[in-house]
């Protein structure tokens, strides 16, 4: 479904991605792990054209990435990025309304359905700053789902949350994974990665060092760099 072929990304002289090759199948849940600065976010941002690649190609269902194919990709950000001036309901309805031109009544029904899914239907008329971080991120997930994406990208979705709020967001993501959504998740939540993903990718210094099942990566890492990273995570976790 997603085919990434030898993608490189340079910011000035700094090469952040040094030739990434990756295939993701439909319905697959892939967690991307690695230390800060390893290129996890950049890789996800390239897949949504928030960054342009320096070289290499990305295809979605065989079609090159453009304004049309990116419509199939939803994204959830570390900092939520909810529209601060709109209510929760309006946040979810805005894109389908102005991009697809769908009718308001139908949208509202669908938006409420999505809010129930993330457990926030009672917050429909609240503004983002009235919500906790965890609630905001769940709204952000509902907002992305409103465009009916085939692929969801999560850019460190729990990294700016207080520890006690991480669980509620991961629950929503887990439910989404169980429904068969194709997901790419950059994360520091090792337990979650182990439990939910079909595949784990360890990114270090802009290259994929290791790519395998959660068991392979967590129980039996082949590369020294993977071992070092996992040890460090265990100590800090």
């Amino acid at each position: 479904m997603i085919t990434i072929n030898n993608v490189r990304k340079k910011f000035g002289n700094l090469e952040v991605l040094k030739g990434i090759n990756l295939n993701v199948k439909r319905g697959e849940v892939v967690c991307v792990i690695g230390s800060s600065g390893s290129g996890k976010s950049t890789l996800l941002r390239c897949m949504n054209t928030l960054e342009s690649v320096t070289s290499g190609t990305i295809h979605i269902d065989g079609k090159p990435l453009d304004d049309q194919t990116t419509k199939d990709i939803g994204m959830v950000f570390q900092r939520f990025n909810l529209f601060a001036h709109l209510t929760v309901l309006e946040n979810i309805m805005l894109a389908p309304m102005v991009v697809k031109g769908e009718s308001k009544d139908k949208l509202k029904e669908n938006a409420m359905k999505l809010l129930r899914k993330v457990g926030l239907e009672q917050k429909a008329d609240a503004y983002p700053n009235q919500l906790s971080g965890g609630q905001q991120q769940r709204v952000a997930i509902a907002r992305a789902l409103a465009m009916q994406p085939k692929i969801m990208l999560f850019d460190e979705p729990t990294s700016s949350l207080d520890p006690e709020l991480v669980g509620e967001v991961l629950e929503v993501m887990k439910a989404l994974a169980e429904e068969g959504m194709t997901m790419l998740i950059a994360t520091h939540e090792m337990e979650f990665a182990r439990e939910v993903s079909d595949r784990v990718i360890f990114l270090d210094g802009g290259i994929i060092v290791e790519d395998g099942t959660p068991e392979e990566i967590f129980e039996n890492p082949k590369h020294e760099r993977t071992k070092v990273f996992l040890n460090r995570m265990r100590k800090s976790g």
Binding site: D67, M75, A84, V99, Y127
Partner: protein, 225 residues
């Protein structure tokens, strides 16, 4: 002594209606029209300034530089008294509208640019990730939030403009200050007439300040928890 007081009160009462009328028929429309046109110009100038086109950026910067660097009164004189020399003859009111519009446009383009740029980059990115074009992101996401930031400085500018319209008296527009001058010439009571005019300006600006407060509350409704 009593006669003198009675005479002054008489002048005060007789002049109030003509002054107020001049204020409502010229000062207020001059300010409203110039501000509406000026804001449009300011918005376009701000967009040009943040566009990726070097040419548009230069035009925008040149215009702001030119207008901000020259006195408003001199600009009004050039438009009304100067332009006829090259065959462009405008009557007083349109000349004033043009002068004020150019000023509102130049000063407020910077306000609007700063307000747009103050909005977090994440709002643009979230819009793009949801499939909104740059134009739609600007219209539905960024501008509504930027406007809240811009309301206080824009209100400042509008209140300043209401008072600056008195400069139009110098190019024969019969706005409030011009009428005060005319009545003064007849009655020889400059202190009384100019204070009275100042008082009416103060009332106009107080109304505007009140409206600004309401607008700020309305535009910040999403911030009250």
């Amino acid at each position: 002594m009593d006669d003198q007081i009675l005479r002054l009160v008489g002048i005060l009462i007789d002049s109030f209606i003509p002054l107020l009328k001049a204020g409502l028929m010229f000062t207020v429309p001059l300010a409203l029209i110039s501000f509406a046109l000026g804001l449009t110009l300011a918005f376009l100038t701000a967009l040009a300034r943040i566009s990726s086109s070097k040419v548009l950026q230069s035009i925008s910067r040149f215009y702001v530089w030119l207008i901000r660097g020259t006195p408003l009164l001199v600009q009004l004189f050039i438009i009304f008294y100067g332009l006829p020399a090259v065959g462009v003859t405008l009557s007083a009111f349109p000349s004033a509208v043009i002068g004020f519009t150019l000023n509102v446009g130049a000063y407020n383009s910077e306000t609007i640019r700063a307000a747009i740029q103050s909005i977090d980059k994440g709002q643009w990115e979230a819009s793009k990730a949801l499939g909104l074009t740059r134009g739609k992101a600007l219209r539905y996401v960024v501008l509504p939030q930027a406007l809240r930031v811009a309301i206080p400085p824009l209100s400042n500018s509008f209140i300043g403009l209401v008072k600056d319209t008195s400069l139009a008296a110098a190019i024969t527009v019969t706005e409030m200050f011009q009428v005060a001058q005319q009545i003064t010439a007849r009655t020889y009571e400059p202190l009384l007439l100019y204070t009275e005019a100042a008082f009416i300006y103060l009332i106009f600006c107080s109304v505007l300040t009140h409206l600004q407060g309401k607008l700020e509350v309305y535009s910040s409704r999403h911030l009250t928890s």
